[in-house]
Amino acid sequence: MKVLKKEKFPQIWQAINQAYELYLPIEKDDRVNFAQWTEGETVNLEALKTEISPKDVIFPQSETYLKFESDGKKLQLESVESENREYVLFGVRSCDAVSFNLIDNVFLREPIDRLYEKRRNKGTIVSLACSEPEENCFCSSFQIKPEEASPGVDVAAWDLGDKILWKPVTEKGQVLTQKFAQLMEDASQQDQEELIKLQNAIKEKVKELPLASVDPKVIKGELKEIFESKVWDELSQSCLGCGACTYICPTCHCYDIQDFAGGNCGERFRCWDSCMFSEFTLMAHGNPRTTQKQRFRQRFMHKLVYYPNNHGSYACVGCGRCIEKCPVNMNIVKVIKRLGGEG
């Protein structure tokens, strides 16, 4: 276990940036989001949640598959090799770190999504424990421990005031640590004690959170029964059908494939899509889900029923972003509660 003094931050950002692409929560216009670090950016590790989840680092909103060029009537294809260097994603909260695993479940199982795999393998994830969980956090509802490193992260970190505690977890994490060890110190006994104190404090805070009692297990019954529940009619009424929730959500991972036709050349790319949109899964015959109720139901059935059936865990990490961002304050917590009979 190492310790990294906060005063060393500028140095380490610079150092990491030389060897890797570095993604950090960066503050711009009062808003904090993950972005690639460049000299002079304001890094904000205090803000608990970035506005949008960091999933776009491992799964960019748009990604080109291949480019094509036509010389006269012959079409030449050129697959796009990711030119990205290895990258470090620093300051990921536990919930977001877990979301990566959930997306892995989809993309890294056969048939493996090569593009995703490649990008994912190039990343070293440094998590940062949540010292101050917020009122709309409910990660504990999904057994996520904000005080600990989530499975899958390469380095776990905790904020100890003027320094962070740095614990490599995986081999990749070790490599990263070794590369920049000269900027760190070994953690002292006192640091270890402080960590335990911090972790206990976080646990206490999490228990006190207003949404601590949210429990997706209240949703019981057969799939068909849940699917046909009257509750969907009621809940979906206020949904505007925008994709704000899906695009800020750390676990939503649906995408569309489109072509950009550029005359003599062009490219095929994938881009995020939202099940809330009317054109989602549009096929030649039309759309299987024609009403907002169906689309709304799809999103939550997927997160709370289908995905768990397929992968054994809920496709929600309780980050609370949708609670914050939904224009009409509809969110997964209201859905869980209502499906569990509350209401």
Partner: protein, 327 residues
């Protein structure tokens, strides 16, 4: 506001009880102090959960498009901006006035939770109450009073129509808001003062934040098309790629499509999850329309022609470069 809230509940209960309407659209309270959200009530007993507080910002009028597809009569609570939105929907032939009973709510201005959070007052906050020009934050530890203006949504600070412009029943006395128009175009003027390159840099930075979630469009009462051109892949006007030029295209066209139809509710800016100040585009167009064709407040009087659906022979002509001739 609590007194009016009682009236809201009573009005809704009566309307359902005596069969005046089959459904009520109002607001309910959720888990948090700021969580006032749209409620759709068909049973008399359900009306007890209705509320009216400083967070009832969601505009209920656009829901009428879907709701009125059933053969029912709907009672709806509308604030000043919501009522303008309703009129715009009426003008666009999207709602049937005869199937709607409007309960007007003069609006004292809504409180922006973001501002509360930014001021560091959100922690442990249990309730927020507003009376006159004061806002009271209630926590376990006690109460704190502030000027309400400090926490009002930006859009409420320049609101010109706090009182509903259309209603069947007004549930409270009209409010007076001394919002001068002086600041109305302040944001627009600031941008106008920049050089073209500065303006472009400003907007590129704003637009590049866009995640294409369409919240701005979907919340907009002027964006009521059955199928938006941006949702129509056959229209071939925009892809979904996260590319600057497509974001610019989307936002410019969106602003143009609501030109002369925007009711200035500011919802686009409010709901944008990444904070793009979209209303500044709409305000620019409102400013230009006012300057060129005279004041037109969309949704205030739906019988007036929308500026882009009509013309005058003597309209200004910024284009004529040379006198006619040379035949």
């Amino acid at each position: 506001m609590e007194k009016i809230a009682n009236k809201v509940r009573e009005t809704a209960r009566l309307a359902l009880a005596n069969g005046e309407v089959n459904k009520i659209l109002g607001w309910k309270k959720g888990d948090f102090w700021y969580d006032s959200y749209p409620a759709f009530i068909t049973e008399e007993e359900g009306t007890a959960s209705l509320i009216w507080d400083s967070f009832c910002v969601a505009n209920l009028s656009k829901y009428l498009i879907e709701q009125l597809k059933e053969d029912i009569k709907v009672g709806v609570f509308l604030k000043g901006c919501d009522a303008r939105a309703f009129n715009q929907l009426l003008k666009d032939n999207r709602v049937d006035r005869d199937k709607v009973v409007i309960y007007g709510l003069p609006c004292p201005g809504m409180i922006d939770p973001e501002k509360v959070k930014k001021a560091g007052l959100a922690k442990g906050l249990l309730d927020v109450q507003k009376s006159e020009d004061e806002v009271v934050f209630i926590t376990k530890e006690g109460e704190q009073k502030f000027s309400a203006r400090e926490f009002a949504y930006d859009k409420c600070l320049t609101c010109q129509y706090p009182n509903p412009v259309v209603y069947d029943e007004l549930l409270a006395e009209e409010v007076e808001r001394n919002n001068t128009t002086e600041y109305f175009y302040q944001d627009v003027e600031e941008i106008e003062k920049m050089s073209p390159d500065e303006r472009f840099a400003y907007w590129v930075e704003q637009f590049s934040k866009c995640i294409r979630c369409n919240a701005c469009r979907n919340v907009c009462p002027a964006c009521s098309c059955e199928k938006c051109i941006f949702d129509n892949s056959k229209a071939n006007v925009a892809g979904k790629a996260k590319v600057d030029s497509e974001e610019q295209f989307f936002h410019i066209v969106r602003a143009y499509h609501v030109a002369g139809r925007c009711v200035d509710c500011g919802e686009c800016s409010r709901v944008c999850p990444v904070g793009i100040p979209l209303a500044k585009l709409n305000r620019k167009i409102i400013k230009d329309i006012t300057e060129f064709y005279g004041e037109h407040n969309a949704g205030v009087n739906p019988s007036l022609d929308a500026p882009l659906e009509t013309f005058k022979l003597e309209d200004i002509d910024p284009f004529e470069t040379r006198a006619k001739g040379g035949k």
